[in-house]
Point group: C5
Chain length 354, copies 5
């Protein structure tokens, strides 16, 4: 939860535009280089930028996907090649950005949160994806190695998906964003399953671990909100930009992505309200349980304490206690005891405790 | 609650504009085909699209109502006929859309949530209705077979309701939307009845099942909010569109529908606040009950424990306990016991416990 | 609370613009017909519309006040006379409208909620008032017979109040609205009195009926909010309309009414927060009471249980219990008991329980 | 709290623009009459309007301050002199106005709430100040006699404060408003002190009166919010008016006052959140206390009840109870008792109760 | 918390624009005087303003940094030199300003809150920084002596950071603001650590000090909110100003700072929600603990009370109690007791209490 803040602290004292990677270092970053036009696409994987760069031709669209951001010099090289502002480089490397869209003169910079669900640890994982969209290029910077965009690469090669190749860099960018937003629903589904699970436990067999489970649910919802809320804003901003970089037809598609984000938001807000309701039900469950415990105690106590008192009286070693010598003593006293029990029982029944 | 999210997951990985039905499959979809102009209306039911299409004439308005969305190829055929954008087809088939209004060049696309109340299971049912409104046609796509629009069909045939036939496709669309919104009030009434029922139980005979009942109420209110909130937005959007597809006179009617949606929202917000109040009252009821249980326990205990203690003292097998040999012993001890009881009673009365 | 929704259900299935009265039927509606100009006013009471209509003259302002809406044909007759849109007629008859202002070509339609306080049952009563304001006429439709507007009628007759007669129909409408809003403060005062009453009970002698009283307060506040909130919106809308029907000088007065509505809203929001505070205080009162009950139980128990235990030990029928034969036995044991009581008392005093 | 509403009720039934004083009557209203220009200022105190009026000269600025509003005829006379709209007179006399700014053709009307803190009764006092600002006059209407504006009067006389005399009536008005807003911070400081006091009591020695103290705090915060919130709105409105009455340089100063109001609002919202936190801490304190009481009870009971039970068994008058005749009886039984106590103690220590 | 309000009170009664320092006095204020242009920078430290002033040249940018605001006459001298409005001087000296941005004719005035974390006392410290940005000068007023801007001074001297020297005064101002906002994340990290600490205590070993810890957390979050919220507004205002003082390229950088503030806000809101969740978990923890205490009490009581009652019956000194003479008495009675214990145990196991 707090990793984000602590990472940013690394940067304090450095002048703005300084390229410092704020994430955790991994091995060699993987570069996937794709050049395509309406006719076809050429793809190269590796980590040598220079050889790839040579293959660009006028009119082609170049898509460079970098997985792993720790090689700062590599990213600065790419930035120089595509004339990217130092602030953008700083934002790409700073993996704790708030999702946003920024317009620069020759390109559009988009930072998004990528959500993934680690079902083994039932843990939510938040990474960052940065997109730089120019007229003839798309740069995508991922924090981790993923297979997320493999499908899109296949479609670029595939003759069936000509539409994808025919449209501009903005359409490709839309497809990348769409892939990210679609994954949100997987995370939301996992979260929904968790809520249902906790709910069924609380209804059937509440226990003291529930409080912690609800607390963890709430934390994850908070984390998700922090990732999705600004996304809505950023995408909304994208819709109302002027048409230099985003074409009118792509805008139609982006509106669709925007709607999906809105739906994710709605679902999340519903989850939030539900987790609050769950806590209410859990707490009222504790109160009910308490009432029951106290009822049991009260019933047992109010039945046996008078009996004990009565027999204690006849256990006193003093003379002339009434009935003490009588042969009817036990029967009378015992009847009195039975009477007490019956009266108490009737009283409790009237109160609807038993 | 979560079905919605899980359905969307089916679509992850597919390129946008891919027609995939995300609902549950049923039998053969039923097509109702109606062509009308000011003079009269012709209606055809069946599932052969081609024969129906032939009957369209210049100047007539065509209304095609499809019940059941699983026959993807059928819907694609219709889409092709009326030149509908692939994204619209995708949205029609994806039955988990957020209610929205989208303007395309030749038509208006509206997605609404249809609410119905299954009184037997006291369950809320949310389906989707998609409308495509062109200059001379209205396409309505329903998820389930319903008799919802039968009245409108009758009115189209009926000579008394000439106004309906005289006005354009936008007026028909308004009538369809109006029918949907009117049904919201049936659901709200059912929900209101449920709230009143839970309320009267909590006031008269609260029990441990109340917490769950309130929880379920809250869930249903959340579900409804999620359906109605974006509706308001969508309809509001419709009111401020330019006048190519929605005529000025129809706009007057749509304003009316918008007001109804606002009223439904207001009622829902009131329900929401009431269910929160219900929970408060229920929880305070539990506290009051607890207080009463504890009072009973305390009264019984504080009366009999001193008596038991006193008689235990006289039950000790030790010599020279004061009064032990006295003939007055019992009377004195017994008086002391009665005194204790009376003093305790007075104390409790002073405290207003009894 | 829910009557509103249930009434609307009556209308489901009917085409829009159908005149159906959704309220409860009463006797004959009473029509008050007033025609006035700067010189004077003529008033007619009765239920024959036709005779009244004849008395209208060019340049005069006609005010028709109808009390009771169940005579649908009468209202349709009036509507026809003044060329009122079927949707307006529908809205007049549907007494569950959300307060709103609607502009039509020749008139302005305003729907307001009339609040009245039935002090006997301490019940809040919500009715509807519809106003149709044309250039030379004002139609007011009330649900019930009231004496609400008698003062205005008197002022119309009275030579002292010439200003009222000199200004247009919009000023009369303003006066009618002003009368309605003024009555809101009577209701708010009654509600404020109730809150103060509950408050003083909770502070002085809390009891289990308080929870229900607070719950009822909250419900009434919710009901009021639902009536007043949209009013603010509607009146705000009225202020920013173009000047065809509402003159600039009347607008000044309407701004005043708007301010009053805002003040009513503020007061209501304060009431809402106060009722929440009341519940908090009530619940904390229950907790405090519980603590006190438990303290009493604990003090009594912890004092007498050790005494009982000690005497039980000396009550055992076994040989060689220390002190058992001693003549000092009782004094020693009794001293021990007194010691226990004193120690316990000191402990409780240290804990500030007694 | 509710006085405001009840006062307004006095006015129900009267036509708008009727001058009715809604406050509580006091003695003779005091009029302070000041005429000034860049050279100097002349001040007259008394209650004869006419003699004062004669001293006005072309180009001078006249400031009339009226303390006490019950002399309705006096205020009507002034209103006539300065051509003030009847609605403004009504608003001046109605001391329960919502703070607002209203533009009229020849003057600006401002209504503010004056807050003062009666430290003796630790009570918040809300009065009203109405300002009428014309090109060459400022009228200020106060509900009570105060010395609030004495400083400003001195500055007007004083040659050191020439700036005040040199600028227009709008600057004087600003100075009056500034004085009022400055007093808000005195009230906020008093409230802050109260919060700190309650806070330190709750932390150190919570008692049952705390709930009421928090409740009263909340009420006062509500009252303040109701006074300050609309003020912000009104002053914001003042900033964006056209420049006929408020000069550009005065606007700079008003922006400062606006900032102060915003700061007062921020502080108040913080107080609101803090009082909510206080209640939470108080309630959790009650729960903790309860837990401790119950622990004490449980420890005492679970230690002595088994001892009592064991000795009761050996107190039975039946033959052949094991050990009963043995000389080791007491030692064995007593050891068993000690064992029970030790075991219980260990159990409680493990549970961290002792 | 309240110091802010109390400081402001000092100023009540003084005319606006009066220079009064509202902070706590310290020693001699330190002035750092820096003059730079694209070629290089000259820096002077000391407290003699006049000698420094002489070194300014046409085209150079002058940055004066004052640490300590208590020397009012010094600040007035500077103000006179740079033609600063009296209201600005008042705002600089009044260290309780709400963060804001104000445009004056020749300069821009910015007031910010400087947050620092005193890790020893784990206390949040809020100071004020005022910036006056002219075309050729930047004045920064700090409340305390800090080393905050030492890095920027080094960069100004350093030939590597030529960019900083080449750009205008607005860029320097941006760098100062950026330094301040970066420090926010250090405070947020410290707060995040505190939340995690409290969280781990509540999960592992909750105790009665937790309530106070959560309360203190909440207070600090409130304090931070009050500092950061208006900052966002002020910076947002800065972004949409016209381009006289803030150049287009600097605006790009300010947008970055704005994004950081938004992120700080998001994090703070998340902290706020988390502290609310912590309290919920703590309170539910108390309830669970209570349930456990009561279970223990109930189990012990319900097991031993029937045993005590049974043996008391056989302890009565009355004749003819059944079994009393029988040799099987003890075995039968003892078996009954064991039976009671077993039955109770089974009952508790069924209820899942043990």
């Amino acid at each position: 939860m707090f990793s984000e803040v602590s990472k940013r602290v690394k940067k304090v004292g450095h002048p703005p535009g300084t390229a410092i990677y704020t994430g955790d270092k991994t091995g060699t970053p993987e570069i996937t280089f794709t050049v395509y036009n309406a006719e076809g696409a050429v793809e190269k994987t590796g980590n040598k930028l220079e050889t790839c760069m040579l293959q660009r031709k006028e009119g082609d669209i170049t898509w460079i996907n970098i997985e792993g951001l720790h090689d700062v010099s590599l990213i600065e090289k790419i930035a120089k090649e595509f004339k990217i502002h130092p602030l953008t480089v700083e934002d790409i490397l700073n993996v704790d950005q708030r999702p946003k869209v920024e317009e620069f003169e020759t390109y559009l910079f988009i930072t998004l949160k990528v959500l993934s669900w680690q079902s083994k640890k039932s843990l939510l994982c938040v990474n960052q994806l940065s997109l730089v969209i120019g007229k003839e290029f798309v740069l995508s910077f991922e924090e981790m190695d993923t297979t997320r965009f493999d499908n899109i690469r296949k479609h670029l090669q595939n003759s069936m998906h000509q539409r994808l190749r025919e449209q501009g860099s903005d359409y490709l960018a839309y497809r990348l964003i769409d892939t990210i937003i679609d994954e949100y629903f997987i995370v939301l589904e996992a979260l929904g399953d968790q809520i249902e699970q906790v709910e069924s436990i609380i209804i059937n067999a509440p226990n003291r671990r529930n409080a912690r489970a609800i607390y963890r649910l709430k934390q994850q919802i908070l984390l998700l909100r922090k990732a999705i809320w600004p996304m809505r804003e950023a995408l909304g901003h994208l819709l109302y930009m002027d048409e230099t970089l985003i074409s009118k037809s792509t805008r139609l598609y982006l509106r669709d992505v925007y709607d999906h984000t809105m739906q994710a938001m709605d679902t999340l807000e519903t989850f939030r309200d539900m987790s609050a309701s769950l806590l209410d039900m859990y707490l009222s469950g504790l109160s009910i349980r308490m009432n029951e415990i106290m009822k049991t105690l009260t019933i047992i106590t109010t039945i046996f304490i008078p009996i004990t008192a009565l027999s204690s009286i006849y256990g006193m070693n003093i003379p002339d206690v009434p009935l003490m010598q009588s042969h009817w003593a036990f029967i009378i006293i015992f009847s009195a005891m039975v009477m007490i029990v019956i009266l108490m029982m009737l009283y409790f029944r009237k109160k609807k405790w038993i």
